[in-house]
Symmetry: C2
Amino acid sequence: MGRGKIEIKRIDNATSRQVTFSKRRNGLFKKARELSILCDAEVGLLVFSSTGRLYDFASSSMKSIIERYNETKEDPHQTMNASSEAKV
Amino acid sequence: MGRGKIEIKRIDNATSRQVTFSKRRNGLFKKARELSILCDAEVGLLVFSSTGRLYDFASSSMKSIIERYNETKEDPHQTMNASSEAKV
DNA sequence: TCCGCTATGTATAATTG
DNA sequence: TCAATTATACATAGCGG
């Protein structure tokens, strides 16, 4: 998407990598937000840049999403009942 | 992106919502993966559908990403030193 | 150097089989 | 009804201010 096609591999040039990171991070967060709204989904997104900086997005709260993740992972039965749908 | 423009709000029709969820979820995961590769970033993505099903993506392991998130949140100084760059 | 613009590629909404 | 296809809106790579 853009003037040229790019290959999916690590960008060597540090400056370009940072620029691309900023742009794509914004796009990714936007998409995550859209998905959570459009489809009434609970979305949690954690990104650490190569410089170690943290960026996060959560449709509700990251804490509750991580807890729910742990619960779901522990309980193979999952929470498939519709009553658990987010009234976020 | 598509034949018609859509508004970012909850999709009422359950069938459409599920279809859109599948498509966008795939797209979101792909983008997350691309970002992690292109920019050498650590990315964790957690999605719960409105039916309660879990979908997750992690460039390394979700467990380590969540741990790193908790550490970063607890320590406001963050890990800004370049030496912490992912040798993932 | 960073921000914003524009051309282009990609994701995806609607449609078709 | 679901999956594949197609046309279009959107995201973004490269460029200019």
